[in-house]
Assembly symmetry: C2
């Protein structure tokens, strides 16, 4: 058992902030499930702190007390291990495959869920607007359940990226064609917009196809679908055709 | 401006607990969006506390201070209004329409999202196992965005309910037939299982059809879909056929 030093505590807590994550090129993951997924990926471990000695077979393991774990965990209920990983280098984005584009997604849980959905549906590219929440935010990392290791995520000026692309650009809008009646291509770009405001005007102007998930309930008051559940349905629709 | 009395504070805070909600037949909703949705429904208002005098046109309005609002709000960031409503009387469950059944859903956010999905897709019946989180839990109410007023929710001993039903009983399982290849009926029961353990053995034995959302990613490590995103895809699949 070793004591976590003050400088280590300072390092870890600083990684709650995007500024320090970017400067140091490091991010935090917690709990054995997420940490193990990342250990089994190409992402490099910086250091690992755990109250359990035999849970991980890595060199950079520090066995610590419950008390120290509390000090470095970002979670309400710390889950025995905290790890620091190196932010991986970006792979190049290709112009040939189904790509999800996020326009100003702000909620870490939503981004995490969308990353997990991309992983499930084999979507390897996710392009986020510069004002989308940082994918190395600890809340995003926890919500991805480790699938962040399998999706290539880049942040870019969206209009520039979209204007360069030769693929059709679909966007989820309140008033578009029913997604159930569209012949969806295997390769395309799909834009999902901000939780409160949808897709921004500037990006909406670039869309080649507006699609919508029709509402079946009769009540007009019904709030629009949450962006994460809408993403689930849209990804399912794009993939179900390639499956048949 | 009036002061909130100690007994009112005690009443409201007691409603965080299921025991008191059931005894008193009351539940709490917060924020103008959710409160307005409920005011426009059949659900009866008990009392409304707001820092804004002109936001609501109801008799039972108490205009209160920010300080008092903080005392009665369950939210991290109180959103100007807190209302108490009467838990509505249960309508009878019919045996003829698409019905969602939840087997031990524990996360309030998941239940709230599923209620909102039911509302969107026009599913009016939701049957929950007795160990599913209470739908009048404040976190569920907030996550429903008001759609709880439009979905008939009952708690029941599931095996008893399912054995009585004459509709086919579909269940979301890890190893079932691909949902994309099934001819889904308009009227059926669809069972969704617990976040960690899926559908319980006892209920699985009653299923007439096991369905699954196929995984497209190549990585076997990928965590299964979250129950709320799985629900979105399954409801969409059941409804897309009736639409065509």
């Amino acid at each position: 058992m070793i004591l976590v030093s003050k400088s280590q505590i300072k390092l870890i807590t600083s990684l709650q902030q995007k500024k320090y994550r970017n400067n140091l090129g490091l991010f935090v993951a917690e709990g054995p499930k997420v940490i193990n997924e990342l250990l089994n990926s190409n992402i490099k471990l910086h250091s690992l702190f755990s109250t359990k000695e035999h849970l991980f077979k890595v060199e950079k393991l520090w066995v610590i007390s419950e008390n120290d774990l509390e000090k470095i965990s970002f979670l309400k209920n710390a889950n025995n291990s905290v790890a620091i990983f190196e932010i991986p280098k970006l792979k190049e984005i290709t112009n040939k495959t189904l790509t999800i584009v996020l326009d100003a997604i702000r909620d870490p849980g939503n981004l995490g869920t969308i990353i997990r959905l991309c992983d499930w549906f084999g979507v390897q590219q996710l392009v986020c607007s510069l004002d989308t929440v940082d994918c190395y935010n600890p809340k995003v990392i926890q919500a991805t359940m480790g699938s962040i290791a399998r999706v290539n995520i880049v942040y870019a000026e969206l209009s520039e990226f979209l204007n360069k692309s030769k693929l059709p650009v679909y966007g989820a809008c309140m008033e578009g064609a029913s997604i159930y009646n569209e012949e969806l291509p295997e390769n395309a770009i799909v834009v999902l917009g901000n939780e409160a405001n949808g897709i921004s005007e500037k990006i909406e102007a670039i869309l080649t196809n507006k699609i919508t998930i029709p509402q079946f309930g009769k009540q007009k008051e019904t709030e629009s679908l949450n962006v994460a559940t809408a993403s689930a349905i849209i990804l399912s629709e794009f993939k179900r055709f390639t499956e048949r």
